[in-house]
């Protein structure tokens, strides 16, 4: 009871609300300043620069050196202090120039299962002779990927983020960051590349496939050796039936081959919403998802029946993708 009351109080906590409204404000400001687009070129209106912790340490060293110079009235220590100050003053320009003009384009997103990592493929490129170093793309707090644009001016990199809920998941703003050249300043941008992931339900096992229908030979199903359909030639192995030896090829002067025959069982499996009576929506979807994966693995053709959705039994990557998508986008996404 105390837990629930405290959790409710956090939402009423004025500080919490202030943080929330601040976040909303910055988000709105960001979306105005850096609107969503599938291809973005970084420029001064999108880039922010602040010193890093190492940069603050550098400042501290400068302060200490200034004290040393002042107390010993030593001009060379002063000169060195001012040199470091000036380097610190020049650095943001370099850091900024390293990111400015970098072009980012979303190439592809890959679907993932909930609880796994979803990946987006992004092309990073730049023009001109300037070398871009240490570009880091990430969805904080995840660690992202780094890329240097030195010899080649374009690179494709994959960055991933964990996904928890099924459905269409809009990725948060991507952080593009660089600390080049000395790591004392951090220049970054939060860009919205319009990354949307399709997230399938998390596969949760509900036992073996609910196989009930009769097995007959047909187009789909489990492959079984020794049927009547000619499949392919394979090198002759001792013990193969002589009836299956490919004499024609042997006569043509090639090695001894035997013809391989197989047959397919027509196991048509309906993965039905109603099979999982009594479970919650998400659990049903998760179980169905697991069955889909099992069926693909065992090459059992499967169809899907959800309330309002019906997909004919079939096999193959395309079918699998359709079925999983139907599962992912099933309405009534449980919160």
């Amino acid at each position: 009871m105390s837990v629930s009351s405290s959790s409710r109080s956090t939402s009423r906590n004025p500080l919490h609300m202030l943080v929330q409204s601040w976040r909303g404000l910055t988000q709105r400001w960001l979306s105005r300043r850096a609107p969503r687009a599938r291809a973005i070129t970084l420029n001064h209106s999108r880039l922010f620069i602040l010193p890093t912790r190492a940069g603050l340490g550098f400042l501290l060293v400068i302060a200490l050196l200034w004290l040393l110079g002042t107390n010993y009235e030593n001009n060379l220590v002063f000169a060195l202090t001012f040199l470091l100050v000036s380097i610190l003053a020049v650095l943001p320009l370099h850091t900024f120039a390293n990111l400015s003009g970098v072009h980012l384009r979303l190439l592809d997103t890959r679907a993932a299962f909930a609880g796994d990592f979803a990946e987006a493929e992004i092309n990073v490129s730049c023009e001109g002779k300037r070398e871009r170093e240490w570009l880091e793309l990430s969805w904080p707090p995840e660690q992202g990927s780094r890329v240097d644009l030195c010899e080649q001016k374009s690179a494709d990199i994959c960055i991933s983020m964990p996904v928890v809920k099924r459905g269409r998941v809009q990725a948060p703003r991507l952080r593009v960051e660089s600390r080049f050249p000395l790591g004392l300043f951090r220049c970054w941008s939060r860009i919205d590349l319009d990354v949307e992931f399709l997230v399938y339900p998390r596969p949760i096992s509900a036992g073996p496939l609910p196989v009930g229908e009769a097995i007959a030979e047909g187009k789909f199903g489990e492959v079984q050796r020794g049927g009547e359909d000619y499949a392919a030639l394979k090198p002759y192995q001792a013990g193969d039936s002589l009836r299956h030896v490919a004499w024609k090829q042997y006569a043509a002067g090639r090695d001894l081959y035997s013809k391989d025959y197989e047959r397919k069982t027509d196991t048509r499996l309906w993965l039905d919403w109603d099979l999982l009576e009594g479970k919650g929506v998400e659990m049903r979807l998760s179980n169905l998802c697991d069955w889909v994966l099992q069926a693909e693995k065992q090459s059992v053709a499967y169809g899907l029946r959800l309330p309002g959705v019906s997909l004919e039994p079939s096999l193959g990557a395309e079918h699998r993708q359709q079925v999983l998508q139907a599962l992912a986008l099933y309405p009534g996404r449980g919160q």
Partner: protein, 676 residues
Amino acid sequence: MIANKDLLPRESLLWIFAAQFVALLPQFTMLPLWVAFAWAFAVFWRLEVFRGRKDLPGRTLKITVIALTLAGLALSYRRWFALEPMIALLAISFTLKNLELVSRRDAFVSLLLAYFVAATLFVQEQTIPYALYGLFSVLVITAALAAQLGQFSASPRRALGLSMRLMAQATPLMVLLFLVMPRLGPLWSVPQNTSAGRTGVSDSMAPGDFTELSKSSKPTLRISFDGPVPPPEQRYWRGLVYSEFNGRTWRQGYGVDPRNGGRVYWKSGEQVLPQVGPRYRYQVIQEASRSPWLFAMAQPASESPGVGETADDRLVKRTPVFNRFSYQVSSWPRETLPTPTSLSNVERRRNLQLPSYGNNRTRQWMASLRGQGLSAEAVSSQLLTHFNNAFTYTLNPPALGGDTIDEFLFDSQQGFCEHFAGSYVFAMRAAGVPARVVAGYQGGEWVSGEEYLLVREYDAHAWAEIWLDDRGWQRVDPTAAVAPERVRDGLESAAGEEFMQDSLFPLHRFGILSQLRLQWDMINYRWYQTVVSFNADRQQNLLQRIFGDLSPMRMALLLGVPIFVLLLGISFWAARTAGRPKLTPAEKLYQRFCQRMARNGIRRRSGETAGNYARRIAEERVELANYAGAVTEAFEAVSYGGDARALKKLRQLSSWYFWLRHSANMTPHKRELAGY
């Protein structure tokens, strides 16, 4: 747990070690030897860890190592709050940090420390080579910092090039800051190292001291004159007065040194000086000597802060000279001053003091002279004649036994300035004349290019002063009686073949090399005058020379304008390099059209084609339909049809719109087209 991406790669480790090495290298000579070994061992260990042959040290080992090094520091240094122990501590922290150099953060800490260590070098030395070395250290440390950002940056060419570029770009701002940043005085007094180990005139004179000095050609004083330059035979730079003799060593005696109660006139004007102007005004730049003695001609007065005059006509500094120090001196030659009244009893006794026994032959000889009723001057000239007749000036005198004065005066008769001065003063005292040994430098080399006198260690000299009742203290240089060229032309001509014969490279024998050396010293002098001794006064002078009177307003402008220009430049540059594609004239005109339409409430959506946009305008604002249609048609004709006439049309349309909004004189055709 340290994330894998933050583990240091090999290149970055090597760079850190290189930066540490460069920063520590000049310090190794000053640090205890074991620190250098500890550092090298730590580096070795860390590299072995990298190669997977060893583990990072565990907690017990680390604590043991820390305890050991702290104990080592405590044993090596008695004082903690001084510069050298501090540098040692920094070196130790490098060393220990290397043993746990794991993450990027550790690397940054280590490199930031390296900057500080590199700077401490300047507290010890401010010469040009050290300045260049300091610059080199910053270059390497900055490169190491850059190399922390990955494999590409860690290539030596790339990292050093980047670091060099950064430093070059930073230089203008650095020079500006150096010139205008206000200099505050020391915020608190800093303890300095007093461990000796430098050559130079010391506060005692034992046989052999000056021969040691004669082996060094290090510059000690650089003196530039404002007005007349004293002739060579007047160039006696007094630094110390020895009045106490124990049979072997001459010392200052009790109550002379300001550190044990000697009287010093710290404020100018405290000492009564004649109204007649001083004969010589000059500035002395003295190298670090780690002692408070300053050098000047008799009778000196100085208005430089922290400099005072002693009762025996010398200058001293309040704190020892740890860095190059420059002071202004005015000197009144003694003959221009009114004759002093008399010697106080204390002073007379002090300057007649002799050991109670020893050197009997000298005492007997002097007693016989005194028995003849000779005056002090007559005794002195007898002595000098004795020196002149039989003595040899040499840098390699035979060793003297117990009665040093007797042996020197009657047996060996070979010696150096300290022997002549010491025995002369002893003899004069034995004859009842107050006398004292004065130590300092004599002569110097005139550097004509920069108009200053360069005094080196080998110009160190000792001479005597005797008290004459009617004339006061008089300088007598017994060495001059034996080797007048020593006084006139300096040690080199006096000592001949013996001069600097022990030095590894007898460079002075080659004329061109000594010429080069002099040139080098001239550059050093410039360097010192312009950079090292640039202080608040000079800063004010310089700024005043450039900008006239310095009101706060001007000062603000001086600081503000460059910063403003810099910011403007940056924002201009940022706008230029923002990666914005260059627009064609037609695109610019069309963009202006879009802005105008947006002001009318119809904003072009991203990705919307020009045609769609025109159609939307026609739907939402009927009165603008014609205009939008015409503009779009012209724009498309230019952009996709390459029609040059259409561009003219587009321009026209663009200007019509402006006139439409701002004037009433429009032809009906245009008005109709523009939708009004």
